[in-house]
């Protein structure tokens, strides 16, 4: 047993785990007859850690040596941690052997910056290239685009990787400067914009020429650290919305700040803001799959997400004039806005009502959460005793069973 590889693996996966991106979906790489692996469509979570997060990729840093000193980062120069670095061969070997045993969907490779950005990026690219060309590996590869690396290297990375990501980390430039004085938004946006443009360009090309090469077919993503700096949800979600619209990002990840750092530039949080993180993901889903505009979720009157209610329920209670919704006639988009009805249920409703009008009992069987939906809908039934209630009363009803739990959580958070 190579004890050294095991130790490196422990150090460099421990250092990589605060990057929450785990997705292995959204790409479309087919296998070849003598190749290894594919990454077509749906992602697979091969395991789950005890914190409930999915393990889909071999997520490691190439090294945790770093010339930067960002307060939020466990690998910062001034932090006293064990340092290690993989060789190219070691990463390739682990990826191939884990993949063959069906442990993983592929590789997520990030790195601390050693020497300079180009030097670091060049090694990440080399690993991806070796996997793709020498080992005919067609599984998922997610690479970090290192801010400050040359366009040429970023470009080459895109030819081998399924997804690339550049992390903004801190949701405003002002805060970023405070916790990471060596960084600025311009450096991060530069590779992001380059990727956005190139990905679009290659897609156009693929429409014209079927066998055109792929460039990061799984798109690009980024991560925002939540709770380490004072930005409100309004700012966070508007930033995310911009990133989806302008940079065409596939995903924005929100990572509740884990108080790993004893750096005095960081707040002394007792606990990771997991509830807030969860609400942000729900809001993100509303923007991407439910047709919500960002200002319908947060705005100047409501700059923070309601921690006690999911953002769709909060929206419904703020806009009682938009309800009730007639399940048997309303458009799909309108049904999708009802609390307790998700994408699947909404689609089933629209399909089933062609065959006959629906009642509450049908909705229940289809999978609608009536406990929430009943305050906002009408259907073929005659009695709607739950309609016209004051939003405050509905809110009470929503909170009843879990109230004490949520309150306890929040108290801990800010204690």
């Amino acid at each position: 047993m190579n004890q050294r590889v095991k130790e490196k693996l422990e150090i460099l996966s421990d250092a990589a785990k605060y990057d929450v991106s785990c997705s292995s979906s959204g790409s479309n790489r087919k296998n070849t007859k003598d190749g290894l692996g594919n990454s077509s469509g749906m992602g697979i979570c091969h395991s789950y850690t005890e914190d409930g997060r999915c393990v889909s990729l071999l997520k490691i840093l190439l090294t945790n040596h770093c010339i930067f000193d960002c307060a939020y980062c466990v690998s910062r120069r001034s932090n006293d941690v064990k340092r290690a670095a993989f060789t190219v061969q070691e990463v390739v070997d682990l990826t191939i052997n884990f993949y063959r045993r069906n442990y993983i969907e592929g590789l997520f490779l990030s790195s601390g910056i050693f020497k300079n950005p180009d030097y670091t990026m060049e090694r990440l690219v080399r690993i991806a290239k070796e996997l793709r060309t020498q080992h005919k590996f067609n599984g998922y590869i997610h690479l970090k685009a290192i801010p400050g690396a040359s366009d040429e290297l970023i470009h080459e990375a895109g030819l081998y990787a399924d997804r690339l990501s550049v992390n903004l980390e801190i949701p405003s430039e002002m805060s970023l400067k405070k916790v990471a004085p060596e960084k600025n938004y311009g450096d991060v946006y530069k590779p992001m914009n380059y990727l956005a443009e190139t990905i679009t360009g290659f897609k156009e090309e693929q429409k014209a020429i079927r066998r055109a090469p792929k460039f990061a077919p799984g798109g690009q993503s980024t991560q925002l650290v939540i709770g380490a700096t004072p930005e409100k949800d309004l700012q966070v979600l508007n930033l995310a919305n911009d990133l989806y619209k302008k940079q065409n990002l596939k995903r924005v990840y929100y990572s509740g700040y884990v108080p790993i750092s004893s750096d005095e530039r960081m707040p002394a949080l007792k606990q990771t803001p997991v509830v807030r993180e969860n609400r942000l993901y729900q809001a993100d889903w509303l923007m991407r799959f439910y047709g919500f505009g960002v200002d319908e979720i947060v705005n100047d009157h409501h700059p923070e997400l309601d921690l006690e209610l999911d953002p769709k329920a909060a929206y419904a209670l703020r806009n009682p004039e938009r309800f009730p919704v007639d399940i048997n006639h309303a458009d799909y988009e309108v049904i999708l806005r009802v609390p307790g009805i998700g994408v699947r249920s909404a689609k089933k409703i629209v399909a089933a009502r062609k065959h006959g009008k629906l009642r509450m009992e049908h909705l229940k069987k289809i999978g609608v959460v009536l406990k929430r939906a009943k305050y906002f809908i009408t259907c073929l039934d005659k009695d709607f005793i739950f309609l016209g209630k004051q939003p405050e009363l509905i809110r009470q009803a929503f909170l009843q069973p879990t109230r004490s739990k949520v309150a306890a959580n929040q108290l801990n958070l800010f204690a």
Binding site: K6, K33, Y48, I349
Partner: protein
Amino acid sequence: MILTYDGTFSGLLSVVFEVYRLKITVSKIVPEDEWQSNFFDQATYVETDSAWADRVRKGIEKKASKKIANTLYQCFLSEQADISMLLFNFIQKLFDSPSDISDNYGDDTVLRIHQIKKKIGREVHRMHAFVRFQRTKDDIYYAVIEPDFNVLPLLPKHFLDRYPAQKWLLYDSQRRYGVYYDLHKTTFITFEDDERLQYRQLNESVLDQSEPEYQILWKSYFDSVNIPERRNMKLHLQHVPKRYWKYLSEKRQQF
């Protein structure tokens, strides 16, 4: 009338054909080996006829879609006690209605079919996720499964797409058959004596010498990516119910 068949999907579709051909009123359909005759009930055995089965399948595809025909096959593998009759009822509804009723989620039969299909899909997905191959001395990647439903026939395609250049064997230790890929084709296989195949963790003497090392590396990777500050066992169990832990070498305590 009570009808029995050979327990295959083609057999069941042959029953459907026979019912329409002879205009029979059916009270019950059961696989022959599950049928227990008694004094009052007499069962009639319907011979499997692949041409008939094919015509019924085509009929389903025409009236609904290929996807629904596949859905019915997947539901058939669920081994639910009344699955033969449920599938028959669905097909009858489909054939007797002027329109395609396969998305009428307001109908109990239709809805149940979709619910069972969802369960099967979930189990297939879990097999894609939780299978852990062990490399043997003769270079076969080997894994034992005990799925909740008889989903083995649905698995080869996925693993074939992924691993066309390595030999692999998936063995259902409960239903006592497996599927083997020899670099050319996949074959369903049974063993007269499968005692050794019952063990999830193969003996070190038959494993490739690097195998234990990778299992340990994987376990140490799994342990170090956990964030203890975020421990959430409820969520963990929701994703990996305890009955699947046996598959996961990383959850084993001893190495």
